[in-house]
């Protein structure tokens, strides 16, 4: 394999990571449609899911075009199995209760905003354009989830307990968000990808600030579960995909 081909593979893998993470968390949020605690929240979560789905389409479209042979966004979303997905493990964690979902979203959004800010100055102009667009949306998402963290953490004894518990469950998946593996390093070195490890202190500072206002405590020494970016997923992803891909797989070529 020559250098160019290898770079192509790294690029498409990198784009899959971006697209799959947005796609899976979008699909998860769709699970709240019709079930959120208030009508306004139902609309908000569905709209956030819609933004993330749109972003995912842009990433997957680009990922598919960079593959040989080229694949379209539907091939990638509907006709891959769990081990072929490159999303971070955080996004496949279950919706659980409302606090579980909001804590997962908060950790995701805060990371996502930093990632997209960094990518908006990518040397790859297409990545830069998608990231600039997506970041504007992610800023709204982060405001929304941060607001909920404060309401839940600083709310009733019960909501506080649920939020703290959710934080303890999700913290184990944060390490992977800032992990720089060979593909991340390769793309960061040429200015295409983001150096997430360097951004972690900034992320930590923001999260601590919100948690302080919410009377929540970031768990000490969480373990670092990882592998999602290389296709090593928990069986949780299988359930998400079964639902997401059911129609496309059962009725190939279906149109409506």
């Amino acid at each position: 394999m020559n250098t160019l081909e290898r770079a192509g593979t790294s690029l498409s893998n990198y784009l899959l990571r971006l697209g799959d993470s947005a796609l899976i968390i979008s699909q998860q949020l769709c699970g709240w449609c019709g079930h959120a605690p208030t009508l306004e929240e139902d609309v908000a979560l569905s709209n956030i899911a819609l933004d993330l789905l749109g972003q995912s389409r842009l990433w997957l479209e680009y990922a598919g075009a960079s593959m040989v042979p080229a694949q379209d966004e539907d091939d990638l979303a509907y006709r891959r199995d769990a081990h072929q997905f490159r999303n971070v493990l955080l996004v496949e964690q279950p919706n659980g209760n409302f606090a579980d979902t909001q804590v997962r979203q908060f950790l995701f959004d805060s990371w996502h905003c930093l990632l997209l800010t960094e990518l908006s100055s990518s040397t790859d102009t297409k990545i830069g354009a998608i990231a600039t667009k997506a970041r504007k949306e992610a800023t709204y998402h982060l405001q929304h989830s941060s607001q909920w963290i404060v309401r839940l953490g600083d709310g009733s004894a019960r909501s506080h307990r649920y939020a703290q518990r959710a934080l303890e469950l999700c913290a184990d998946y944060v390490g992977e968000l800032f992990e720089m593996d060979a593909i991340d390093l390769e793309l960061a070195n040429v200015g295409i990808g983001a150096d997430m490890a360097a951004l972690q202190p900034q992320w930590q500072a923001y999260v601590e600030q919100v948690l302080a206002a919410a009377n929540l405590v970031y768990p000490a020494n969480p373990i670092k579960r990882r592998g999602g970016k290389r296709g090593q997923h928990s069986e949780l992803l299988v359930g998400v995909l079964m639902e997401m891909q059911h129609l496309a797989r059962s009725y190939p070529g279906a149109q409506w």
């Binding site: 306004e40 389409r57 354009a129 600039t132 709204y140 607001q147 600030q209 919100v210």
Partner: protein, 176 residues
């Protein structure tokens, strides 16, 4: 070198096209047109092929396909045979692109038009600091004594506000 496909610089040739596009309503806000919304970025002829460049409002905008279809229908009826619709992501759409006419139409429909876009911070800022931003004046009575009721309203791009003077609820097209 002569490029056979270079754009024909003739504003006369596109004025009619712009007029047709200015009559196509936005599917989510039918009281303003896609031109008022600022999503039509460019119209140019390449010989007999007409290029229309669109910049989507939101990445996941569900109306995208419908907008493209209405453009094809309207221009087809206007006699355009060869049409290419191009999506341009950069620079990203902003509510600054909503025309003055579009803002007037929104107000008339009871929707507060977007305020000037707030500075995009390059670092994460903790809510509610950015919320200290200006409040939209009420589209019904014009008073500035309003408060937010919900960040999300009937569609992705709007928030729900309440006017403390005329006591009417109204939608605000969020600056973005």
């Amino acid at each position: 070198m002569v490029n056979l496909f270079q754009a024909v610089e003739d504003p006369q040739a596109t004025a009619g096209i712009w007029a047709v596009l200015a009559d196509i309503p936005d599917p989510e806000m039918p009281y303003i047109s896609i031109v008022d919304l600022g999503i039509v970025r460019e119209v140019r002829w390449q010989l007999n092929l007409l290029n229309v460049v669109l910049t989507p409002t939101y990445s996941g905008c569900p109306a995208r396909r419908e907008i493209e279809r209405s453009i094809r229908d309207a221009l087809g009826q206007a006699g355009v045979d060869a049409l290419h619709i191009e999506t341009r992501l950069h620079p990203a759409w902003t509510t600054e692109w909503v025309s003055a006419l579009g803002r007037e139409k929104m107000r008339a429909a009871g929707v507060a038009p977007p305020l000037a876009e707030t500075q995009q911070c390059q670092t994460l800022t903790f809510w509610p600091n950015p919320r200290a931003a200006a409040l939209p004046p009420c589209p019904h009575c014009g008073h500035a004594d309003t408060r937010i009721q919900n960040e999300s309203s009937g569609s992705r791009c709007k928030a729900l506000y309440h006017c403390d003077v005329c006591r009417n609820p109204f939608e605000y097209f969020k600056s973005f």
